[in-house]
Symmetry: C2
Subunit: 384 residues, 2 copies
């Protein structure tokens, strides 16, 4: 599965050369190693102090090397959004994977069974009795047991079982299927992660946690106590840990901290909890219009649904950006300021990390202006 990426071909010779970040072809995805290490250590310390486990979500990084570092810091494994990502991380040696979206279609279930035979500690969600039946049939034929987690809809209506009664009914059904092992429940409040105000986020999460508590109590009263209660995210991790219902947290974005998450007051401390480790290196490629310059990074270099990129370095304070098509952004200087010259490097922070990472084959791992390593993004494009 592993092959040298375009990034390796272009840049492997720059690893370890003093100041080599400035020689990278652009656009390139840069990852500040010191910031990444501090983010991983800080979340691990937080989880330990609060007696909760971590199974960080790889939907953010999609990268076996980062998963290994999270596991080395104490995590149980990684979550994966899709079967294809779980295949990619398994093939790169990562175990303890949990697939957080339903695996439903016939070809996907065939691949799941093949993966389950070679993956240690694999789990996946189920949110429908028909899907439970289909998984059980396939596992029975293969003489396997699949470990499943019931996904509960917190009100987003994306995935998950819609009511406490339906959760109980599905749990009872799974208990009758010998090829499925029910390990617990999942409850992911995706929308709540991004509420910027701490008090408002906490208020809403407390209300949702009461709903989850009721379901856990209902299952327990019926002899189906969930061993695992998994969910949460970077936005609500502190609140969730203190509420004490989750046994493990699916935090993802804390490793990189995109711009939007950085605006959220994560712990009610009025200061950033983690550092913005993920950056995009770009260069000025056209400079014919006064007050603006065009850089070589556009719609194909970053996810766009959260707005234009935020300049981090290489431009005067107050510089703004706007998209100029697939390959370019404009950078616009405040009155009187001098923009970088043709060929000069500009550093941007992506507005939304997860789908931005999906555009790149590898991280350029940097420290003090030097490229120190290149890490393949094994899960890139593995959305099937």
């Amino acid at each position: 599965m592993s092959h040298p990426t375009d990034s390796h071909r272009l840049h492997a010779h720059l690893i370890g050369r003093q100041g080599s970040r400035d020689q990278l072809n652009t656009p390139s995805l840069a990852l500040d190693l010191g910031m990444l290490e501090r983010n991983i250590a800080a979340m691990a310390a937080f989880a330990k102090a609060h007696g909760v486990s971590l199974r960080p979500h790889s939907k953010t990084h999609k990268c076996a090397e980062i998963a290994r570092r999270q596991i080395a810091a104490g995590a149980l494994g990684n979550c994966c959004a899709k079967l294809g990502e779980a295949e990619a991380l398994t093939d790169a040696g990562i175990s303890g994977l949990h697939i957080t979206s339903p695996v439903v279609s016939t070809p996907a279930i065939e691949r799941l069974i093949a993966l389950n035979a070679r993956a240690s500690g694999l789990m996946l969600v189920v949110d429908h009795p028909d899907n439970a039946d289909a998984l059980a049939r396939a596992a029975t034929v293969a003489k396997q047991v699949l470990t499943v987690i019931i996904d509960i809809d917190p009100g987003m209506h994306r995935t998950g079982v819609a009511s406490p009664e339906a959760v109980l009914a599905l749990a009872r059904k799974i208990a009758t299927l010998p090829s499925l092992k029910l390990a617990g429940v999942q409850f992911y409040c995706g929308r709540h992660q991004h509420i910027e105000d701490y008090a408002e986020r906490k208020k809403q999460i407390v209300e949702r946690t009461d709903y989850l508590k009721g379901i856990v109590a209902l299952l327990t009263a019926n002899g189906l106590k969930p061993g695992i209660v998994t969910g949460s995210g970077t936005g609500t991790h502190e609140i969730d840990a203190k509420l004490g219902v989750f046994t493990e947290l699916q935090v993802g974005s804390y490793v990189f901290m995109d711009h939007q998450y950085n605006l959220c007051d994560l712990r009610g401390e009025n200061r950033p909890t983690f550092e913005q480790a993920l950056q995009i290196d770009a260069r000025v490629v056209s400079r014919n219009t006064p007050g603006m310059a065009t850089i070589d990074s556009g719609l194909k270099a970053m996810a766009t649904e959260a707005g234009p990129p935020v300049p981090l370095a290489g431009v005067p304070a107050g510089t703004t950006t706007r998209f100029m098509g697939d390959e370019h952004c404009a950078i616009v200087a405040p009155e009187g300021a001098t923009l970088p010259a043709l060929g000069e490097r500009v550093v941007l922070t992506p507005p939304h990390c997860d789908p931005t990472v999906n555009l790149y084959d590898a991280y350029h791992v940097v420290k003090d202006g030097t490229l120190v390593d290149i890490w393949t993004i094994e899960g890139r494009g593995r959305s099937r």
Copy 2:
């Protein structure tokens, strides 16, 4: 450079099997072969009838097999947005490439010189005297000649020389540099491509073409008549061809026709000129909320800056879609209609083809519900 993609690994065994489109893992990018062939033939016939050459823009398809088919139908070669795409297509055997964005930085110019040594008929734009100097220096050291095209800003301020006088000055400068060969000018009115109304688009293009004509006349009067005048796009190809200034057209989107282009009345005929050949196959993976279903294709399966995908097949008329994060969309049925069941396939048309293609490793080439081939997207992610 060529290696089997995830799509080849998963689906090569389905090629030629009757009805195999329904067995594809999703999300998958489907390309209707009949529609593609008709689009390529129609544009080739149009260009021939109007006495203009085609050098179609590969920024849309990024794929050597489609470039080969365009060239077989009479095209001079392909345009590429970036040096990395030109490397990818050259390594896959395509010649006659023109790079339509400036190549500026030191590492990029090194790669350009290496590419120029192995690529037949390579051209690239230049829009600044400093860049012309840098290109000339590198070509001189390598004992090469680089063929360059002066990029003229049509008023978008993305790339290009800003005034007729500056174009003349740059042309004169290039004429003094023995390692650069000036082949012509480029004039790409990107914004105008998407004006839906034919008459309004035509009015604005006529005005811009007068500006271009003035520059061509100025160069000609100074003994620097451009041999090549390149530009245009799917949106304005008919108007540009009839105005007769361009010697070659950079049409790209006509091969696939995304949703937005399909709304444009391309030839003032009040009907679609080309067919929507590019589609996304998705599947229902959750179905617990009345009136809606969740499919397995989200922000990572399609470009998002042009809005949500448009359902094409597999859903009742009047069904709408909305994004539900990186991995999912919701499909919402009109009152009383029945949505597809868990695991069923839905076909979508992407709102913007070019950056959508950039998310996938390969096209699943389909004909009458059967997978007939898988074509690698060699230029995917090659934005450097």
